[in-house]
């Protein structure tokens, strides 16, 4: 058993282009894993993480080939195996847990049967033994009512439950190595916390080794003992998680860690310039040179090797950098933050947008609603109910909540895309028509939207020039030349060059596309920009850059943001005020500093506890179950069904009162503030207090 579980040696894979050139994807990757080890693999998208993970199953994408090196699993070279021998290893001894369980499970097959299939195939189980093992596996991943659950189809389960089923399937063959490819990406924070907890527990109880591929530093810190950083198909740093987190040695690792927004720092994360090279965009020397502050002539000519740093630690610490000693000596730990310039508290803020008692529903209207009423069906509760909020000129108001909390619904109502059933929307003292088509052009100009996914929000058939031309043509009396010049200037403002004018969205990276979307919104010179999860589809490094850009533009242009996000750390970095939403109802609203300190609304508390700062060994507190509620309760508190601090039937029957914890800080809960204050602890690290102090002074 002393033998290493996995030895990857000098692995280089690639694909052949039509011109016959071989383009390397993974480059000279060497990595070892011991039995029972949990290794996190991080890097931006396009760095080869998934490609590497799949080679551990002896799999290459169609057209891919091994150019050099080997992947040895328990001493056996996977790429030297015959297909049937490989099939024996896959799924049984090495299993993969995919990112999207919903697309990995067969939609027409019952969940129990899908797990049974794996057991029959790899372990030859049958009969009652098989049935028992299926139930045992589902119990192991903490799924409720397993007897009933085995007969369900995938579409009848929630995202978190599906991911648990996928994990149970991965465990079915009792594998020695689990490859997890972004297993919690796309899940709500509380669900994610539960899944990570489960993975840790499985690791402890079964001793299965795990390769955890993710761009989420927080998730990796909570599950893994060791961290490997991949850049441009190479491992650039490899070491114990505590060491790497505390003092990263490679400039790329520093950049990545620095770009992660933290709950405990009230500042913008530091963006890393540039983007990773695409395969084939080959250069001599170190691949990180164009983005590196430490690069010199040596780096441009000689490719550094992965070498031990000889630093003390529980695990060997390797780095691939010529100048790592200089990097360490620079003391630049990658965690310095720029504080966002907040709005001037001295001046009485001028209200810009007022939503008063807004109700929104997706329920049937007209004839269909009449029929439903005639049949005696109760009218479903409003998706968004009695929503009242004010946004001031130049401020950033964040809407936070899990999926289904009605954040985007509110943005759509403000934009006039989804008329509210009841309530009033006031913009700059004027009543705003509920339908966008009946609003004056000036209103269209003043309210702009930036969407989550620039792939969908930019017309793929248009050039950047056409995209930026649209708002200019609509709102301003400019000639062709003027509009073109303005478009170029806008691109400069979002740190792109006018060379991008002729490009199509398909010819740009995700970050560049989102910059164009930002430029399109600002072309209108808006008063209010609705930012709907604008960074959640982006890599952390790109997210940091977009946040920085938005903060900068706001400082220059004085536009107000309605910033919708599920990520409390991102919100902390950019928002002035925060409203926490659950099921379309406001739980808590207040200045950003107050939201992140007790007293919390129990829902805010649950969210904060579920997503601690990325730090080795950080454990999330699971205060509430990870259930997704289909619709809000008819009366009482919106959070009644999941609340960890429920006090009784009053929660079910009465709408909670608005309690003022501080000026402008409202908590809607039946529990008296004093009681909340006494029983709650500060969930973000103590350093936050100091940093926050700086933030206040800066203003």
């Amino acid at each position: 058993m002393s033998q290493k579980l996995l030895e990857v040696e000098g692995l280089t894979t690639g694909f052949r282009t039509q011109a016959g050139q071989v383009v390397p994807v993974l480059r000279n990757v060497s990595l070892e894993m011991q039995r029972g080890e949990t290794l996190g693999l991080v890097g931006e998208s396009g760095c080869g993480k998934t490609t590497f993970g799949m080679t551990l199953l002896g799999h290459l994408r169609p057209g891919g080939q091994v150019i050099a090196g080997s992947v040895r699993f328990e001493g056996v070279d996977l790429f030297g195996l015959a297909p049937d021998e490989l099939a024996n290893i896959r799924g049984q001894r090495v299993a993969v847990i995919p990112q999207s369980a919903s697309s990995a499970l067969t939609p027409t097959m019952r969940v129990g049967e899908q797990i049974a299939e794996v057991l029959t195939l790899h372990l030859g189980l049958a009969g009652t033994e098989l049935q028992e093992r299926v139930l045992e596996l589902l119990t192991q991943v903490h799924l409720p009512k397993v007897d009933e659950l085995v007969r369900r189809f995938p579409h009848e389960l929630s995202g978190g439950q599906l991911q648990r089923v996928a994990i149970a399937m991965g465990l079915a063959g009792k594998p020695e190595l689990l490859v997890l490819d972004e297993p919690t990406t796309g899940l709500d924070v509380t669900t994610q916390a539960h899944i990570l907890d489960l993975l840790r527990e499985i690791q402890e109880s079964t001793g299965t080794a795990m390769l955890y591929i993710s761009h989420d530093m927080g998730a990796i810190a909570r599950v893994c003992d060791r961290l490997a950083v991949m850049y441009a198909g190479e491992i650039v740093e490899d070491g114990g998680i505590a060491e790497v987190f505390a003092d990263p040695v490679h400039p790329y690792t520093r950049g990545l860690l620095g770009s992660v927004p933290r709950l405990s720092y009230a500042g913008l994360p530091r963006a890393m310039a540039g983007r990773p090279p695409a395969p084939g965009e080959d250069s001599v020397g170190c691949a990180f040179v164009p983005r590196c502050a430490f690069a010199d002539e040596t780096c441009k000519t000689i490719d550094p090797a992965l070498e031990p740093t000889s630093r003390a630690g529980t695990l060997p610490h390797l780095v691939q950098c010529h100048h790592w000693q200089r990097v360490v000596a620079s003391g630049h730990s990658g965690q310095m933050r720029d504080l966002k310039v907040g709005i001037d508290q001295g001046v009485q803020p001028e209200p810009l947008l007022d939503l008063a008692e807004v109700d929104i529903t997706y329920a049937k209207r007209g004839l269909a609603a009449l029929v439903a009423r005639w049949r005696g069906e109760p009218e479903p509760p409003m998706t968004v109910s009695s929503f009242t909020i004010r946004i001031h000129r130049g401020e950033t108001l964040a809407l936070v909540g899990e999926s289904g909390s009605g954040k985007s619904t509110i943005a759509r109502a403000i934009a006039g895309l989804l008329p509210p059933r009841e309530g009033r929307i006031d913009f700059g003292g004027q009543d705003l028509a509920s339908v966008v088509e009946s609003r004056p052009a000036e209103m269209h100009r003043k309210i702009q939207i930036i969407f989550q996914n620039p792939d969908a929000s930019l017309n793929p058939r248009h050039t950047v020039k056409q995209i930026l031309d649209a708002p200019l043509r609509l709102y301003f009396d400019m000639d062709q030349k003027g509009r073109l010049d303005r478009s170029g200037a806008l691109l400069e403002e979002v740190r792109l060059t006018p060379r991008y004018l002729e490009r199509h969205p398909g010819q740009m990276s995700g970050g560049e596309k989102q910059r164009v979307a930002v430029a399109r919104a600002f072309a209108a010179e808006p008063d209010l920009v609705l930012c709907d999860e604008v960074t959640s589809a982006l890599d952390v490094s790109v997210q940091a850059a977009v946040l920085e850009l938005l903060a900068g533009l706001q400082a220059d242009r004085g536009a107000a943001y309605l910033f919708i996000s599920h990520d409390l750390a991102v919100v902390r970095a950019i928002a002035d005020r925060v409203a926490v939403l659950y099921q379309g109802r406001i739980c808590e609203v207040g200045p950003v500093a107050d939201i992140y300190a007790p007293p919390y609304h129990p829902y805010t508390e649950t969210l904060l506890a579920a997503a601690p700062d990325p730090a080795p060994g950080a454990r999330a507190q699971l205060l509430a179950k990870d259930v997704q509620e289909a619709e809000p309760p008819v009366r009482g508190c919106c959070f009644q069904r999941r609340c960890p601090r429920r006090i009784g039937s009053i929660c079910d029957d009465e709408t909670p009162p608005s309690q003022f914890a501080a000026a402008g800080h409202v908590i809607r809960c039946h529990i008296p503030l004093e009681e909340l204050r006494e029983s709650q602890v500060d969930l973000i690290s103590p350093s936050s207090v100091a940093t926050h102090g700086v933030a206040v002074d800066a203003q």
């Binding site: 934009a415 006039g416 895309l417 966008v436 088509e437 609003r439 052009a441 209103m443 269209h444 100009r445 309210i447 702009q448 939207i449 969407f451 996914n453 969908a456 929000s457 930019l458 017309n459 793929p460 058939r461 248009h462 050039t463 020039k465 056409q466 649209a470 708002p471 609509l474 062709q480 073109l484 002729e502 199509h504 399109r520 209108a524």
Partner: protein, 294 residues
């Protein structure tokens, strides 16, 4: 004005890409060659045929291919080579125009329905369903019988019949874009509806409509040939492949040439269009296999 060269360059780039992809597929290349040869013949045949299509060589009736008559002659002694070369012109012309009309009105209506949605969409689509329930050729026959055969009647009738099914295809393709964020963005921006359809929606559907046009043209060609065969299509004396098959089939046992050559000409063109169309849709990224001819 500078928008025009950009758009041109952009669409040229797109066409170049599609062209490369077409050429890469062997079937596509073969299909394309066949179609180009046919189109060349259709355009150039009046200048290259050795005889007039109504010239009668009384001494050589039902002759086998020879140096004078490369494809032989029919029962009147007319040169089959001449008639086969000329026989596609009318049908191809009618098919291309009919397909153009079909894609124009059907495509536009389909896109508008997808964009408008709601009750209008519901009602019109049920009507389209009802029309589609009647076999296409039957409708065409009825109209032609009622209004008489003439080029304009044929073109309009086929243009109508194929347009009905194009409505479905265009609506389906447009639906996937109508809900997308860039359309929502345009609405929120306050763009006029015509602008949203013309600037945002239609550019994304040109590829679908192009493939649709090619396939409708191929089916229209089959339909016209069938009509001509039945005597309701291209009227004599204009030479036409379908009609030639009808005229010469009784002599099949004596002299098969009059039937074989027009059939070969028609079949090769339709196979060519289909090969090229399949490769085109693949090059553009559509799959035509789910779409059935009507």
């Amino acid at each position: 004005m500078s928008v025009v060269p950009t758009r041109l360059a952009q669409s040229l780039g797109w066409f170049a890409q599609v062209w490369r992809s077409l050429r890469r597929s062997r079937q596509g290349t073969i299909g394309l060659v066949i179609v180009i040869v046919h189109m060349f013949i259709a355009v150039a045949s009046p200048y290259i045929v050795p005889y007039a299509h109504h010239d009668i060589d009384g001494k050589n009736r039902l002759a086998a291919p020879s140096a004078d008559h490369p494809f032989g002659t029919d029962s009147f002694g007319r040169d089959l080579f001449t008639r086969v070369l000329l026989g596609g012109r009318a049908a191809i012309g009618v098919a291309l125009l009919a397909a153009a009309i079909a894609v124009l009105w059907g495509g536009l209506l389909g896109i508008l329905l997808a964009f408008i949605g709601g009750r209008v969409d519901e009602v019109v689509m049920r009507l389209v369903d009802a029309l589609l329930a009647i076999p296409g050729l039957l409708v065409v026959l009825l109209i032609v019988v009622a209004l008489g055969t003439g080029f304009s009647v044929l073109i309009l009738t086929l243009g109508y019949a194929y347009g009905v099914s194009t409505v479905r295809v265009a609506r389906g393709a447009a639906l996937s874009f109508v809900a997308s964020d860039f359309i929502t963005a345009a609405r929120a921006r306050g763009e006029r509806k015509t602008n949203i359809v013309l600037r945002e929606l239609i550019p994304n559907l040109l590829d679908v409509l192009l493939v649709e046009y090619v396939m409708r043209a191929s089916w229209a060609l089959t339909a016209i040939s069938s009509l001509s065969y039945l005597g309701f299509g291209i009227a004599p004396p204009t030479p036409d492949w379908g009609r030639m098959v009808f005229e010469n089939q009784v002599m099949l046992a004596v002299s098969p040439w009059g039937t074989l050559f027009p059939v070969f000409a028609l079949a090769s063109l339709i196979i060519g269009i289909n090969l090229a169309g399949d490769a085109l849709s693949k090059a553009i990224g559509l799959d035509r296999s789910q779409e059935a001819p009507t």
